[in-house]
């Protein structure tokens, strides 16, 4: 200690002379956590103080006597203690109980927590309970409809399918549009494309997270909230906090569940006779006579006998079951949480399920008053029993190339091979994707002085994905036991951060808090593959063959991220709040010129209801206005995007026996951060003692330097180029309310409602055209003045009643028979205009019921696969919608006359798109219906349980929509793996474009939760 402090102490001691002993002690909450910043007031005097970072307080200078001390803190019920102060020191240990007023709940904000009242940004909190009761393919799907402005599109009915999550619209084209996922302060490996796309699916790194581990999820939506995550906050941040040990003593919970999975809709494909009839009709329409030739080496006799319902052959009633066991211990110095779960999430696709084994240990150890050590560690194995889907086969083949005239087996019992046969493919393919995952964090927090908290966290997120496939000799044609292959992807993600927080209160009313921090993250991805012939099964069961297999190591990729940040908050009398955040980030993905970027934010709020003039207001129990501005950024591009790279010297490509060297791609060292400027204003209000709480948000986000993987003129010599081009605008309004409609002793009814309207527009494209970035083959494009993911198509007018041929519209809207790509125009959008959800919860005595309805309005669906299912006869089967076809002059039909030749419709090829396949994508659906029964305390007591609950859960029971395809909720997995445009295809073409995409699942399940 230095002299100055000694002097101060001395002065303090002298100053105390003539007074009685001090009052001191600790203020803690129910969880035995210190309450920082609690006010300690001596009633009737001007004396008071505030607790420090350890929850400690001390009052001096009081004369001996009787006092009433009031302890209060936001979110906690005030406590008054009467004391008598004499010559001895008074030590008080105060425990403050939670005051369940919604405005005062604790919210995780990134490198800390704040009370909802203090928050100056837009954050939605979703409790773990709301997430882990839904049988969903992956936890993020359960966020659907729960938070305003958070659009969640569940991928498909595939087990383990990833959802598309978009917060307040989308502001990227070729950079990632997904929010940043942070689990207990660890930005986890979340890249959906890490293992590429196979079988119509991307591996979902979020699926291995056990939803039962989750205590709460906070969604940071605006710049004031996510600027602390700087450059990675542009798409919003999803903070996941896992459960921790609390309370006193041991507590155990067990959960078990079982259920079934069914498709929400079944494709109605033609049977053999129907197909033969229409094929013949097309044959004759095309001017032929006699019997139409049949594909696949099938005779008419066989065709009439074979009537394979391929849809039924590829789907099943999927089984879902699982258990979760949890042990929770709260002690003096150590809090423990142990969680183990097994989950088998079977889908309705034959052979498809996602199994998860997961274990978690979370420890909180406080060896001394000034130090806390937290450990969180999870280990999980996600086993995806894979099947081909969509364009790759399985149900996708049943909806396309598998004709009803094909048999599964020939008369002699051998597999039918001359045409598409998904049953043969399925039975001769074994496929498992096994993801081993361990996310570990060590957090040390030190309080060296009462007003300073230092925290350091180091974490390691390890992921290893083995994609194992085995094909029998039936498929490979080799005369052996079969071929096995394995693709391995390993990601090591290391992260640390250190923060220091300084708390200061001046004269009780001025409260400061300053946080400074530094963070670094580095991730390394390694890829390798192995393959071998003559293996009797998957490599995972044939270690010996794996050791002997041919192995190939592919180049890995690395990225690193370094940041410094600070957050300063100030409030005056808990009434006026100001927050300033400044973060500066550097990413290895950018060249030296543009590596560093700064992301400031400034926001403030005014708790109007704390003003004197509002105190007497009976309507408002709470009223807060807030506003903020901030910058955020996006660096979601491939690790090596900026480099002009060349083939390695060892490329083994020669010409005339001489070595070669060649460029892979163009250089752009000036590629830089995609930047968003965010403006937000909001009103939060509580009415009638918070019986009704509501929130209204307006936002405007202007994104510039949009990262685009441009398709550049081929004559430049390369097809693509990364550059910062153009701008995007997102503007919107969000409204939500929670209303406790009926609050009686035996019956309660609560409504949660939210709606969000987002306007999205590409405001600039530089010199580039609509085709400079495309969402794959389905004709979504970037169009200036239209939203990201605009359907850019030739307009279909009608079927000419005289000829049965298509009539298109040219660019001027005039009817034409010519199909010309110059007539493409912006005709639809994959982004909805409005999204939201409504949850009604009813409680009657021991019964409760919760009903969640979600809706999405104003988007279009492009049913890309229907172009081969409803008039043009290719090698596909058709569905029953084809019957609305033109047959005779005078027919007013939806679909043109059947043909086997695309040129009949003046199309350049059989893949051509028109608005005939563009549909209204609006829908509302009963997402979840849960009915639960909680055993009464006396019943539980008899069984020696603390609590017990039985519930029945149904998801996706019914849907209201005009869409005539399978299911209007479409989040197709994305094309591309190594290609730079993988994000483009996800941002522009995953959502609301279906190409044989498996429909969502409908589930029914029963769950039992017990606590003892």
């Amino acid at each position: 200690m230095n002299k100055r402090i000694l002097l101060l102490l001395l002065l303090a001691i002298i100053g105390n002379l003539g007074y009685a002993q001090s009052v001191k002690g600790l203020v803690k909450d129910e969880k035995n956590e210190p309450v920082i910043g609690a006010t300690v007031q001596v009633e009737g005097t001007g004396f008071g103080t505030v607790t420090d970072a350890l929850g400690a307080f001390e009052l001096r200078k009081l004369k001996p006597g009787n006092y009433r001390l009031r302890f209060s803190s936001i979110g906690l019920a005030s406590v008054v203690k009467e004391i008598t102060l004499g010559t001895t020191e008074v030590v008080l240990n105060i425990s403050l109980k939670e005051d369940r007023r919604q405005m005062d709940e604790l919210v995780v904000v990134g490198y800390g927590v704040q009370r909802k009242r203090e928050i100056t940004g837009a954050i939605s909190k979703i409790g773990g309970k709301e997430l882990n009761d839904l049988p969903v393919p992956s936890f993020e799907a359960a966020l659907q409809g729960k938070a305003p402005g958070v659009q969640v599109t569940v991928g498909s009915g595939l087990a383990g399918s990833a959802s598309i999550v978009r917060i307040r619209g989308i502001s990227s084209i070729s950079a990632g549009g997904d929010p940043l996922y942070v689990v207990d302060g660890i930005p986890i490996t979340q890249d959906l494309f890490i293992t590429g796309n196979s079988g119509g699916m991307n591996n979902n790194p979020l699926a291995s997270i056990n939803p039962d581990d989750i205590e709460s999820v906070e969604v940071l939506k605006d710049a004031a909230a996510n600027a602390i995550y700087g450059s990675r906050g542009a798409n919003g941040v999803i903070l996941i906090t896992t459960k921790r040990g609390k309370g006193k003593g041991w507590k155990f919970t067990a959960l078990t569940k079982a259920g079934v999975s069914l498709p929400t809709a079944k494709p109605k494909m033609l049977n053999n006779r129907q197909w033969l009839q229409l094929n013949q009709e097309a044959w004759e329409n095309d001017g032929n006579s006699g019997m139409a030739p049949l594909p696949g080496g099938i005779t008419y006799e066989q065709a009439l006998n074979n009537n394979t319902n391929w849809v039924d052959e590829t789907i099943q009633t999927g089984a879902k079951y699982g258990i979760n066991l949890s042990a929770n211990h709260g002690g003096e110095k150590l809090n423990t949480l142990l969680n183990f779960s097994y989950d088998n999430n079977g889908s309705y696709l034959k052979g498809n399920s996602y199994e998860r084994y997961s274990g978690r240990v979370n420890l909180d150890f406080s060896p001394t008053k000034w130090m806390k050590i937290g450990v969180n560690s999870s280990l999980s194995a996600g086993i995806n029993n894979r099947v081909n889907a969509a364009w790759s086969g399985g149900l996708g083949a049943a909806m396309s190339t598998a004709l009803p005239i094909y048999p599964t087996r020939n008369a002699d019992g051998t597999w039918y091979r001359s045409g598409s046969n998904p049953v043969r493919d399925m039975n001769n393919l074994k496929w498992k994707t096994i993801e081993g995952r361990s996310i570990n964090g060590l957090n040390i927090s030190v309080t060296p002085r009462k007003d300073i908290v230092l925290q350091a966290q180091a974490s390691y997120d390890y992921m290893n994905v083995n994609d194992d496939q085995w094909r029998s000799s039936e498929i490979t044609g080799n005369n052996n036991a079969g071929d096995a292959s394995r693709g391995t992807t390993q990601v090591k993600n290391f992260n640390y951060y250190v923060t220091a927080t300084y708390l200061k209160t001046i004269k009780e009313n001025h409260n400061f808090q300053v946080l400074v921090g530094n963070e670094f993250q580095r991730a390394n991805t390694k890829r390798s593959s192995a393959d071998s012939t003559n293996v009797p099964g998957l490599f995972s069961q044939n270690e010996a063959e794996l050791n002997e297999a041919r192995k190939l190591t592919q180049p890995g990729t690395n990225w690193a991220f370094l940041s410094y940040f600070t957050r300063a908050t100030y409030n005056y009398k808990q009434r006026y709040f100001v927050q300033a955040v400044f973060r500066t980030d550097a990413s290895s993905r950018f060249g030296a010129n543009y590596r560093w970027a700064s992301f400031p934010s400034l926001s403030g709020s005014w708790v109007v209801s704390e003003e004197k003039f509002m105190k007497m207001n009976r309507t408002f129990s709470f009223l807060k206005l807030r506003a903020g501005w901030g910058k955020s950024g996006n660096a979601g591009i491939p690790d090596n995007a900026r480099f002009a790279t060349y083939s390695p010297a060892t490329n083994n490509i020669t010409y005339n026996g001489q070595p070669t060297l060649f460029p892979y791609k163009l250089e752009n060292q000036n590629i830089r951060w995609e930047t968003s400027n965010n403006y937000d204003v909001a009103v939060e209000a509580g009415f009638f003692k918070d019986r009704l709480t509501a929130e209204l948000n307006f936002y405007r986000r202007v994104t510039t330097d949009v990262l685009m993987y441009l398709t550049i003129p081929g004559s430049i010599g390369f097809a693509n180029y990364w550059d910062n081009v153009g701008g995007i605008l997102n503007e919107g309004v969000e409204f939500s309310f929670k209303s406790r409609n009926i609050v009686a002793k035996n019956f309660q009814w609560t409504t949660n409602f939210n709606v969000a309207r987002n306007y999205n527009e590409i405001t600039s494209l530089g010199v580039y055209s609509e085709d400079a970035v495309s969402g794959g083959t389905n004709d979504t494009r970037i169009v200036k003045g239209s939203p990201v993911g605009t359907n850019y198509l030739i307009r279909w007018s009608h079927v000419d009643p005289n000829t049965g041929l298509p009539v298109y519209l040219d660019i001027n809207g005039n009817q034409t028979s010519v199909y010309d790509n110059k007539n493409r125009t912006a005709v639809g959008q994959i982004l909805p205009l409005a999204i939201g959800g409504m949850t009604n919860t009813f409680r009657y005595k021991n019964w409760d019921m919760s009903v969640l309805i979600i809706y999405s309005l104003g988007s279009n669906i492009y049913e890309s696969s229907q172009k081969r299912q409803s008039s043009l006869i290719t090698d596909w089967n058709m569905d029953e919608r084809v019957y609305d076809r033109w047959q005779n002059p005078g027919d007013n039909a939806k679909y043109p006359r059947l043909t086997r030749d695309y040129r009949t419709y003046n199309l350049p090829d059989e893949w051509s798109n028109t608005t005939l396949w563009l549909k209204d994508g609006s829908y509302a659906r009963l997402r979840n219906l849960t009915i639960g029964y909680n055993l009464s305390k006396s019943q539980c007591k008899k069984m020696h349980l603390a609590s017990a609950r039985v519930s029945a859960i149904a998801t996706n029971l019914f849907t209201l929509t005009n869409y005539d395809g399978l299911d209007p909720e479409i989040g197709r997995d994305s094309e591309g793996g190594s290609a730079g445009d993988r994000n483009s295809s996800r941002n522009l073409g995953s959502q609301n474009i279906t190409y044989l995409t498996p429909p969502q699942e409908k589930t029914f399940s029963v769950q039992i939760n017990i606590e003892f």
């Binding site: 398709t711 010599g717 350049p908």
Partner: protein
């Protein structure tokens, strides 16, 4: 306080590690490391040959043939619209070839830029030779681009009609199409420089004669018979006809060879697309792509012509009759690109068209005929009229170079010369030689405000 200092010290020490952000790609080499020496530049040139060899491995030739009358309609895929002359800017096969050829041009321009820049030390011989080789390849690339994506030379009287983008630098800006006249001027300039600076002998790489032979082809395509004739005369004094009928089996050691792409083995095969399309693996099954009925019957009409033995027929007499060729039944071949047989027939035609030495023209075409029959029985008599000689030359061109990509461009050249108004005297598989769809559509990636696409259709 100590605790605070320790933590602060840690913060500061962590933060100084900016080097952690210096990440270089694995498995790929940044330009600064890859291109440092003369050998690197030589390797870059090697890779340009390599890439050109892969694009001319039957692929450029196939696209030309698809537009013409030597092939049957392909079974499926994006080559079908090429056959139907209905390519649009989404045709990925067409776009793929276009992008690939320009990618080689980028390599060549980058090579020349690096040599010109002078930072990498190179010797004088290398500087001259490598630049000349690059210009030879760049001219070849532009020549095929303008033939496939533009209407032919002579389509308009001043050739102001749009050709292709000329790429003569590493500039990465979008550019407009140059006129056909400008493209040919550019090609001629490159070839003039190549001719001057290429060595007389250059192993398996382009030499002076290669530049001359390519120049002769360019001049001939321009219907510039005088210049073509001069070059043919000069070269035919050095190069003579081979006796082999299938020029793919004896390429590199042939007395005919002026320039060829070299194959060294099955894994290094520069005729892969030829083989993929036309190789008959199982004698009872047709090849993936089939010949047209007209080519088959013309080529096999006279069984005394030994070249007729190359042709095979499947399902003869049925509605599914198809035709194939056995020339490509092998594992790998080197790929003859410029050779004496071309010059012979070129000279013969140039002589007739320029009213030159008819006797020499007859002797040139007879050399080809005599080789084909193994005797002089079918040689043209010396008193054959110029018109009949011309007819025979053109027939021999079809029979001599089947599937080598000449036929369509021959018909276009003849159309521009003999049917400039497109009256229909010269047609290509039922369409006027100058119909829109006979020029391939550019890929959609060229869609900028300054780029003019080809009109589509019109070849029904």
């Amino acid at each position: 306080m100590k605790k605070l200092y320790i933590v602060l010290a840690l913060v500061i020490s962590f933060s100084s590690c900016r080097k952690w952000l210096e990440i270089t790609p694995e498995g790929e080499v940044p330009e600064s490391e890859a291109v440092k020496t003369q050998q690197d530049l030589q390797n870059l040139l090697n890779s340009s040959y390599d890439a050109m060899a892969n694009h001319y491995n039957g692929r450029v030739q196939f696209f030309n043939e698809l537009l013409g009358d030597n092939l049957e309609k392909p079974q499926s895929g994006f080559t079908v619209p090429i056959y139907l002359r209905t390519t649009n800017y989404f045709n990925s096969d067409v776009g793929g070839l276009y992008n690939d050829i320009y990618n080689v041009i980028f390599r060549l321009n980058f090579l020349m830029f690096k040599i010109e820049e002078g930072i990498i030390p190179v010797d004088a011989e290398f500087k001259v030779r490598a630049t000349a080789e690059a210009k030879f390849l760049r001219a070849l690339a532009h020549f095929d681009l303008v033939k496939l994506w533009g209407q032919p030379y002579g389509y308009t009287s001043n050739n102001a009609h749009p050709g292709v983008v000329i790429r003569n630098s590493v500039d990465t800006k979008p550019k407009a199409r140059a006129s056909v006249a400008e493209v040919y001027t550019f090609i001629l300039e490159d070839l003039a420089a190549a001719q001057t600076n290429l060595p007389d002998n250059n192993g398996n790489y382009a030499n002076k004669d290669a530049a001359k032979a390519l120049l002769a082809n360019v001049r001939f395509q321009q219907n510039d018979f005088a210049n073509a004739l001069t070059l043919c005369n000069e070269l035919l004094s050095k190069y003579t006809l081979d006796t082999t009928l299938n020029r793919f089996v004896n390429v590199l050691n042939s007395p005919e060879k002026i320039f060829a792409f070299v194959s060294t083995g099955v894994a290094d095969n520069r005729t892969a697309t030829y083989l993929n399309n036309f190789r008959i693996v199982n004698p009872s099954n047709p090849s993936p792509n089939r010949l047209s009925r007209t080519l088959y019957y013309e080529a096999t009409a006279d069984t005394a012509d030994l070249r007729s033995k190359f042709y095979v027929i499947f399902n003869q007499g049925t509605s599914s009759e198809t035709y194939g060729i056995t020339k490509f039944n092998g594992d790998f071949f080197s790929n003859p690109l410029l050779y004496a047989s071309q010059l012979k027939l070129m000279r013969a035609e140039a002589l007739i068209k320029s009213s030159g030495d008819l006797g020499l023209a007859i002797s040139d075409v007879n050399a080809i005929i005599q080789r084909a029959y193994g005797n002089a029985n079918k040689n043209l008599p010396s008193n054959t009229s110029a018109t009949d000689v011309l007819t025979m030359i053109r027939k021999q061109r079809r029979l001599e170079f089947p599937l080598e990509g000449n036929r369509t461009q021959d018909l276009k050249r003849i159309g521009a010369n003999e049917d400039p108004t497109g009256s229909g005297i010269v047609s290509i598989r039922g369409s006027k030689w100058n119909c829109n769809g006979l020029a391939l559509q550019f890929p959609v990636n060229e869609n900028t405000s300054i780029f003019e696409f080809n009109p589509e259709g019109g070849c029904e």
